[in-house]
C-alpha cells in the first residue's frame, strides 16, 4: 500500500486518510477487510483484502473420497449449504452420467428454494441493519428460523446440512413435511410484504439506496458479476432458466431484472426473488412424484478419467464446480469452485469509488457476500 497522496487545489493542501475497515468491523459480514482511502468522507479508492477464512477446501478435497467432499461444500456458503451440496452432487452425477430419479430432483428443488429464501432473509436483515433499520433484521430472522426448523426435520441439522448424496438424497422426506412447507409458504407471503412496508417506499431507504453503486449491464457482466447483482443491472441471466438443472425445467417462474443497476434495484430484484421462490416451492411441493430417491449408483464411486464443469444458481449467483478425475483413485484429481461471492466481491472497489463511507457498508450488503465462500 503506497503512502497517502496529497490533494492539491483546495485552499490548503489536504492529504488522504487511509482507514482500515475490518476484518473486525460490524458490517463487513464476517472477516472482510477493506482498506479505504478517504478524502474527507468520500472514498477515493478501496482495496479488498481477503483470505482470513481460508481453509483450503479445494486442496482438502483432493484427499477426500467423493462422498466426503459433500460435507466440505457445506462449509463454503454456510448460509446456503443445501445449494452448495446440490451443485457438487450434480457435477459428480454429470461426470459419472448417473440418472437422478424425478422424486429426488423435486425434493432437491424444494430444498434449494427454501435455502434461497433463508439466504435472502439473512441478506435483507443484514443489509437493512447496515443502513440502520434494525427491526427488519429481527423480522427476517424470525422467518429464517421457520426454514431452519424445516431443514432440521428433514436432515437433523440446522446450518451445515450435508443433505445430499451423489445420485439422490440420503433419506426421504418425513411424513407430513410437504404440508408444513406449504403452510410456511402461506406465512412467508405475508412476511415479504411486511419487509417491503418497512423499506420499499421508506424515503430514507430510497435516499440511501437509489443511485448508489450504479453499474451498467455490460460492465457488470464484464466484471463477472452474477446472480441478483447482475440481474439488478438488467441482464436476465439465471442459470435456472438458461441451463436448467434439478427440476427447474418443469417449473413456471419469472426472472426479475432491474433497470438502473443501483443498490435499490438489486434490493428490488431480491425481494421479487422471494416471491418467485415461493412460487417454485408451491409447484414443486405439490408435484413431488412417487418413486425412489436414489438412482443407480455404483458402490465405489470412481468416475472415469475426464473433467466437467457444472453451474447452478445459488442465492448469491452462479456457483460452478470444475472437477477433474484421473479415473484411478477414489478422490478427485483437481477440484475447483467458482464462488459467486468471490466474483461479485471484485466489483466492490469499482462500486464504492466516489461514494461516501456510509455507502460502503450499503454496497457490501448489496452484493451479498459470504466470506466462507469467498475464501473457501
Amino acid at each position: 500500500m503506497e503512502t497517502p497522496s496529497t490533494i492539491h487545489g483546495a485552499m490548503f493542501d489536504t492529504s488522504e486518510l487511509v482507514i482500515n475497515m475490518g476484518p473486525q468491523h460490524p458490517s463487513t459480514h464476517g472477516v472482510l477487510r477493506v482498506i479505504l482511502r478517504l478524502d474527507g468522507e468520500k472514498v477515493v479508492d478501496a482495496e479488498v483484502v481477503i483470505g482470513y477464512l481460508h481453509r483450503g477446501i479445494e486442496k482438502l478435497s483432493e484427499n477426500r473420497n467423493w462422498t466426503q467432499i459433500i460435507l466440505l461444500t457445506d462449509r463454503m456458503d454456510y448460509v446456503a449449504a443445501a445449494t452448495s451440496n446440490v451443485g457438487y452432487c450434480e457435477t459428480v452425477e454429470k461426470l459419472m452420467q448417473i440418472d437422478v430419479p424425478r422424486r429426488a430432483k423435486y425434493i432437491r428443488t424444494v430444498l434449494m428454494e427454501l435455502q434461497r429464501i433463508a439466504s435472502h432473509c439473512l441478506w435483507v436483515g443484514t443489509h437493512a441493519m447496515d443502513i440502520g433499520a434494525m427491526t427488519v433484521f429481527l423480522y427476517a430472522f424470525r422467518e429464517r428460523e421457520l426454514i431452519l426448523d424445516l431443514f432440521e426435520e428433514f436432515c437433523g441439522a440446522r446450518l451445515t446440512y450435508n443433505s445430499m448424496r451423489i445420485g439422490g438424497l440420503p433419506q426421504d422426506i418425513p411424513p407430513g413435511w410437504d404440508k408444513k412447507v406449504l403452510a410456511f409458504c402461506d406465512i412467508m407471503d405475508a412476511k415479504v410484504d411486511e419487509y417491503e412496508t418497512l423499506l420499499t417506499h421508506n424515503r430514507i431507504w430510497l435516499e440511501r439506496t437509489k443511485g448508489i453503486g450504479v453499474i451498467g449491464g455490460a460492465e457488470a457482466a464484464g466484471l463477472g458479476l452474477c446472480g441478483p447483482a447482475l440481474r439488478g443491472s438488467g441482464v436476465a441471466r439465471d442459470v435456472r432458466k438458461d441451463e436448467p438443472y434439478a427440476a427447474y425445467d418443469e417449473m413456471d417462474f419469472d426472472v426479475p431484472v432491474g433497470v438502473a443497476g443501483d443498490t435499490y434495484d438489486r434490493y428490488l430484484v431480491r425481494m421479487e426473488e422471494f416471491r418467485q421462490s415461493l412460487r417454485i416451492i408451491r409447484q414443486a411441493t405439490e408435484g413431488i412424484p412417487e418413486g425412489p430417491i436414489v438412482g443407480k449408483v455404483p458402490r465405489l464411486i470412481k468416475p472415469a478419467a475426464g473433467e466437467t464443469y457444472h453451474a447452478i444458481e445459488s442465492p448469491k449467483g452462479e456457483l460452478g464446480y470444475f472437477i477433474v478425475s484421473d479415473g484411478k483413485s477414489t478422490n478427485p484429481y483437481r477440484f475447483r469452485v467458482r464462488p459467486p461471492s468471490f466474483c461479485n466481491l471484485q466489483a466492490l472497489p469499482r462500486l464504492v469509488r466516489g461514494h461516501l463511507v456510509a455507502d460502503v457498508v450499503a454496497l457490501i450488503g448489496s452484493i451479498d457476500i459470504v466470506l466462507g465462500e469467498v475464501d473457501r
Binding site: I19, S27, G132, I204, E207, R208, V357, A358
Partner: protein, 340 residues
C-alpha cells in the same frame, strides 16, 4: 434559612437523583420497547421482567477495567466524558416540573430556580455538550472516532440553528424567556403552543432527534459504519458517562418540548372547569406523562427508520429545516404585530 438553603438543596438532590435513576431506566425502557417492536422479550433475567437490569449494568460498568489508549491525549480523554455528562444534568435547574404548591405549610416551587433567561440558559448549556464529543474523538487519537466527532460537530451546529429559531417563535408567543412564564402564558392563551406553532414544534422535534444523536440521525455513533463512533476507545465508567449523557439529553429535549409546546405541568384544557376532576393527578405527573410520550416516540422512531447519510442530513438541516424555521418566525412576527 430553610427557604434559602435547605429547600433548594433538597430539590437539587431530588432532581439529580430522579434524573439519574430516570436515565438508567430509560435504557431499560428503550431495550424493552425495541424488543416489543421486534417481537422479542428484551431483558428478562435480572429481576422480574428484567426490572433490575439497570442495576446490573451499573455494577458491571463500574467494575470494568478503564482503559486509556497509550497514544491518547490522557487529560482530554478523561475530561471529555465529564464535559458531555455535566451539561445534560445542569439543564434540569430551570425545568419546571410544576407550579408553586403548598407542602408542609410552606410554599414550595416544583422547580429548582426560575431565571428570566431560562430558555437561553438551556440552549447555551446544552450546546456545551458537543465539546465532550469533539474532544473525545480528538483525544482518542484514532481514525474512526475522529471521523465521528467531525460528523457530530457539524450535525449539532447545523441543527442547533434550526432549533433555536423555533424557540424564538415560541418566545414571540409568550413574550418571555422564563420557562415558568412560558407555561403561564399558555394557560392565559387557553391553548398549548403546539397547536398555534405546529411547524415550530415539528422542526423542534426533528432537531431534537438530531441534537441528541438519535436515530435516524445517529450518524456520530453509527455502529455499522464507524464501529462505535466517538466512544470506540472508551470503556468502563467513562463509556457509561457518554451513554448516560445521551439518555439525559433525550429527557431534556422531551421536557423542553413538553414545557414549550404542550403546556408543561398543565392538565389538558386547564381553563375548562368541567374537566376539574382531572386535577386528581398532581401537576408534576402531567408533566412526566407528557415527557414520557415524547421519550416513547424517540424509541419508536429508532426501531422503525433507517439512518440518514451524512450529506443528506446536512441537506435536510440547511435546505429544509432552517428556511422553514425562518419563514415560520417571520410569519409569527407578522401575525403577532398585525393581530394583537
Amino acid at each position: 434559612m430553610i427557604d434559602q438553603f435547605v429547600i433548594p438543596l433538597l430539590k437539587i438532590l431530588i432532581v439529580l437523583n430522579a434524573t439519574l435513576v430516570g436515565v438508567t431506566y430509560m435504557v431499560l425502557l428503550e431495550r424493552k420497547v425495541i424488543a416489543w417492536a421486534q417481537s422479542r422479550l428484551g431483558p428478562m433475567r435480572v429481576g422480574p421482567y428484567g426490572v433490575l437490569q439497570p442495576v446490573a449494568d451499573a455494577i458491571k460498568l463500574m467494575l470494568k477495567e478503564d482503559i486509556t489508549p497509550t497514544k491518547a491525549d490522557r487529560w482530554v480523554f478523561t475530561v471529555a466524558p465529564i464535559i458531555s455528562m455535566v451539561p445534560a444534568l445542569i439543564v434540569y435547574a430551570v425545568i419546571p416540573f410544576g407550579p408553586v404548591v403548598r407542602l408542609f405549610g410552606r410554599d414550595v416551587s416544583l422547580y429548582i430556580t426560575d431565571i428570566n433567561v431560562g430558555l437561553l440558559y438551556i440552549v447555551s448549556v446544552a450546546s456545551v455538550g458537543v465539546y465532550g464529543i469533539i474532544l473525545a474523538g480528538y483525544a482518542s487519537n484514532s481514525k474512526f472516532p475522529l471521523l465521528s466527532s467531525l460528523r457530530a460537530s457539524a450535525q449539532l451546529i447545523s441543527y442547533e440553528v434550526a432549533v433555536t429559531l423555533t424557540l424564538v417563535s415560541v418566545i414571540l408567543m409568550s413574550g418571555s424567556l422564563s420557562m415558568v412564564s412560558i407555561v403561564d402564558s399558555q394557560y392565559n392563551a387557553r391553548v398549548w403552543f403546539a397547536f398555534v406553532q405546529p411547524v415550530a414544534f415539528v422542526i423542534f422535534f426533528i432537531g431534537g432527534l438530531a441534537e441528541t444523536n438519535r436515530a435516524p440521525f445517529d450518524l456520530p455513533e453509527a455502529e455499522q459504519e464507524l464501529t462505535g463512533g466517538f466512544h470506540t476507545e472508551y470503556s468502563g465508567m467513562r463509556f457509561a458517562l457518554f451513554f448516560l449523557a445521551e439518555y439525559a439529553n433525550m429527557i431534556v429535549v422531551s421536557s423542553v418540548a413538553t414545557t414549550l409546546f404542550f403546556g408543561g405541568w398543565l392538565r389538558p384544557f386547564p381553563n375548562v372547569a368541567a374537566l376539574h376532576f382531572l386535577d386528581v393527578l398532581p401537576s408534576w405527573t402531567w408533566f412526566l406523562l407528557k415527557s414520557f410520550v415524547f421519550l416513547y416516540i424517540f424509541i419508536w422512531v429508532r426501531a422503525t427508520l433507517p439512518r440518514y447519510r451524512y450529506d443528506q442530513l446536512m441537506r435536510l438541516g440547511w435546505k429544509v429545516l432552517i428556511p422553514l424555521a425562518i419563514a415560520n418566525l417571520v410569519v409569527t412576527g407578522i401575525v403577532k404585530v398585525m393581530l394583537f
